[in-house]
């Protein structure tokens, strides 16, 4: 069996745009918005979610035939919670600053709907390898949106990118000011709405009929 046949390829690459978890399936919004004031925590969050998602998918897919249907939600929660604890401890050990900025949102990966959604919809019915690719794909789709939102908000809100100044001093001297509003939570929603707008005007089949 080829590792990347056509079906697996679409499993891996579809979530990047056509079937993006955040802007098309509308899952995992909570953390997507809360951590995007700066790019660095957003990237760390994206990587953490991708890792947890990929491994949770593999584990659930390996034991999918032994899980009784009635308790599957609790089994999934326990698997995910164990993985999140590992990620949380690793972050605390190696990147304490970012771990403090993300505060409770690492813990909230447990209730991130992307995880539940993918475990229910994919891992419970597929073999481990496609499940792993599905986890990676969805995690990357999530990371891309986080990175775009965080880039926009950090450049406009603080004039920096990953902590480096990107807006030249000359602009500030000419009277330019950072837009403090972009740092505040509500602007994350509006930024995501703009991404959805652009994305859906290019993919007409994704547009909804009703308000």
């Amino acid at each position: 069996m080829a590792l990347l046949n056509n079906k697996n390829k679409s499993v891996l690459f579809n979530p990047l745009s056509k079937n993006n978890p955040v802007i098309v399936q509308v899952l995992g919004i909570c953390s997507a918005l809360a951590v995007t004031a700066k790019l660095e925590p957003a990237l760390v969050m994206g990587v953490s979610v991708t890792a947890v998602l990929a491994f949770a998918n593999v584990i659930i897919s390996l034991i999918r035939k032994t899980i009784p249907n009635s308790v599957r939600i609790i089994v999934q929660l326990v698997v995910v919670a164990a993985l999140v604890i590992i990620v949380d401890q690793i972050l605390k050990a190696y990147n304490y600053e970012v771990s403090k900025q993300l505060s409770v949102f690492i813990g909230l990966i447990i209730t991130n709907c992307i995880l539940m959604g993918r475990l229910e919809a994919f891992a419970l019915g597929n073999k481990p390898w496609p499940s792993f690719l599905d986890g990676i794909g969805n995690g990357l789709g999530y990371t891309i949106i986080l990175a775009i939102v965080a880039t926009v908000r950090e450049i406009l809100g603080s004039g920096t990118l990953l902590g480096f100044k990107v807006i030249p001093q000359a602009l500030y001297d000419a009277g330019y000011e950072n837009n403090g509003l972009m740092i505040l939570p509500p602007m994350a929603l509006i930024t995501v709405a703009c991404i959805i707008w652009v994305h859906r005007s290019r993919n007409k089949d994704l547009q909804e009929k009703n308000n």
């Binding site: 809360a34 326990v78 909230l108 539940m116 939570p185 509500p186 959805i196 909804e208 308000n211």
Partner: protein, 204 residues
């Protein structure tokens, strides 16, 4: 007095939706009409009031560094706080299951209106988030934690009923095609969030 202050702050200033975006998934999915939105809001508030005191007790007597000292002074330097995520989610998941069974048995009419939402709540970030914030803020007593839970729940209820009412009216307006549905909901939530920010700095 302090509790009242905390309650009002958690409803308006630290609103779960507008300040922390917790519970957004069900907020976006179940806000098409006011009646179901109200049902889900009540269910979330109910679960918060039930789970927060339990999680508070767990935190104080089991998880906190040195919390096991009441069992035996030798346990004073044990720190189990890394277990908090898994225990909190276990409490929430089992509490939703229990509440679902209890409501089904004792009040079939309430079950008919709430029933479908209860399983959704186990994975609602607002509930787990509230417990985690409680852990971070170090409240003085279980009562304070319950007040915080009730306030956050009411704030969540307000937010989802508000957006549902707006979306009902929105059915008659002319929204650009790519923004229809989820896009415009995001924008409205953002604007509502800006409105709620005017409560910042409230002191009673």
């Amino acid at each position: 007095m302090e509790n009242l202050n905390l309650f009002i702050r958690s409803v308006f200033v630290d609103n779960m939706i507008f300040a922390y975006f917790l519970g957004m998934c069900s907020y976006l999915a179940v806000s098409k009409n006011v009646k179901t939105a109200f049902g889900l809001g009540i269910a979330v508030m109910f679960m918060l009031v039930i789970t927060l005191p339990i999680d508070y007790a767990l935190e104080t007597y089991f998880l906190r560094p040195g919390a096991l000292a009441w069992l035996n002074p030798e346990f004073a330097d044990i720190d189990l706080s890394f277990l908090s995520l898994i225990l909190f989610i276990a409490v929430i998941a089992s509490a939703t299951q229990l509440v679902e069974m209890a409501v089904e048995k004792f009040s079939p009419s309430l079950y008919a209106s709430l029933g479908i939402f209860l399983p959704l709540i186990a994975v609602n970030c607002a509930i787990l988030g509230c417990s985690l914030f409680m852990q971070q803020r170090d409240f003085g007593s279980a009562w304070t934690a319950t007040v915080y839970g009730a306030g956050s729940g009411l704030g969540w209820l307000l937010a989802i009923v508000g957006i549902a009412a707006i979306r009902e009216r929105l059915a008659y307006s002319n929204v650009p095609a790519p923004l229809k549905g989820i896009g415009i909901t995001f924008i409205i939530t953002g604007l509502m969030g800006i409105a709620f920010m005017s409560f910042l700095g409230i002191k009673i």
